[in-house]
Assembly symmetry: C2
Homo-oligomer: 225 residues x 2
DNA sequence: CAGTCTCATATTGTTGACAATTCTGCAATC
DNA sequence: GATTGCAGAATTGTCAACAATATGAGACTG
């Protein structure tokens, strides 16, 4: 009842992140500090911190003296993120094949199982969280802090990109492809695992509409501004 | 004379970064907000922002209710950073070989020339800035925002690691190896370029004392604390 | 003498108010 | 009628004071 000190910075970040990933917050929308402070029932300072984190994650763009806006990733940026993901995640999977413990495998399989449940019950929120979480869990399992942080950034940006450019109705990252990757890792088959990962990422990217056409109106406005 | 609003956040970040890279600020030292506010003649709020950025770059560690301290990267973290660098920078160089313009090459060669000057005149500050800057320039030339940001983080951490674990008196990243890499890129020889880059990074890492022994005292103190 | 508890001090975290900047609507002018 | 200039409103940026928390010294006790 007496929520003395509202949600933490991290909680605010996650709520905003989810709102963006669920397309409830559209790119270009301004996130006014006072307004958000009222919504979350916290001071503006904490909102500012949350916005700074969201900017670091690439989800919002902060313009000095103007405010924070939900980012509009360009097609180029979208391709860029997926290019880096192909490189990094291939490296992640390769390293995992060489040093994966039974406990690690159990965690991975449990995660995929959760994904299956979420997909079966069609719980959008869970599907979004878990499909990104799988790739994050892979990076975490490697044990490299830096790789984990990098993947965190990539996944955040991917979520935004997916929200903006998703073409099909289905959500990306079906659990089946994830399961196959896990089993390839379990078999220490680096070759198959990296191939499956590359294929999986191509599949996800192919479900996006990254034709340059969509950007024309945007570019027009940018050119005239 | 009337410095109305002191240095910007970014300027403060750079000064602290350089102080750490030059070993004038040792790992473990606490960066007290009020003290820094007095030094830079700005308010604590701006110092807090700068510290947040430095934490994101991995140079300082913020402990809630305790304060900000210059990070002490562990041997494991150091190896981790160089592992990721090997992967990422190989990718950078490979991509550059496929799409490098004459203007790009000129920028790269100019940069190497500056490095030579700094080395010849033994200007430590410039040597540190430029040697990291070369790798950053490579990433920037690729044209991938994400890759650039990632390299920025990696270089920041590498600077700290070098400051902590450097064994030799010489500074790393001699301009000669950089020049060789540039020429391989100019020749569009991806094979040689990636090989040279890998060799260069191994060389830099080999000049560090990453034997596990050094950590014993550290662990001891940590254990007793 | 060792250990523990308490209190003073120093440092961070937060809040609210104020200053600077930008946007918007309206009116005056060409 | 369109454009420019201006004033008011709204929003962000900054600051200084206050509250919460951790540290360390010193006294007290077993």
């Amino acid at each position: 009842m007496t929520e003395q000190s509202g949600p933490s910075t991290q909680q605010i970040v996650e709520k905003v992140w989810l709102s963006i990933a669920e397309r409830r917050l559209r790119p270009g929308v301004q996130l006014k500090e006072e307004q958000m402070a009222a919504i979350f029932n916290v001071s503006r300072a904490r909102i500012r911190q949350a916005l700074a984190v969201l900017e670091r994650d690439g989800l919002v763009t902060i313009v000095p003296n103007r405010g924070a806006f939900v980012s509009k990733p360009s097609v180029e940026e979208a391709r860029d993120v997926f290019f880096v993901r192909r490189t990094v995640e291939r490296c992640v999977v390769d390293r995992l094949c060489k040093s994966v413990s039974k406990a690690d495998l159990k965690r991975l399989r449990d995660h995929v199982a959760k994904e299956r449940v979420a997909n079966a019950n069609d719980v959008t929120t869970d599907i979004i969280k878990l499909s990104g979480g799988f790739h994050l869990l892979l990076a975490e399992t490697v044990g490299s802090d830096f790789l984990f942080t990098t993947m965190r950034d990539l996944i955040s940006r991917s979520s935004l990109i997916t929200a903006v450019y998703r073409n099909t109705n289905r959500f990306n990252c079906g659990p089946d492809e994830h399961a196959d990757i896990v089993e390839a890792i379990a078999a220490n088959d680096a070759d198959t695992a990296t191939r499956l990962m590359a294929h999986h990422l191509e599949h996800v990217e192919s479900e996006l509409d990254l034709s340059e056409i969509r950007d024309l109106s945007h570019d027009l406005r940018a050119a005239l501004a």
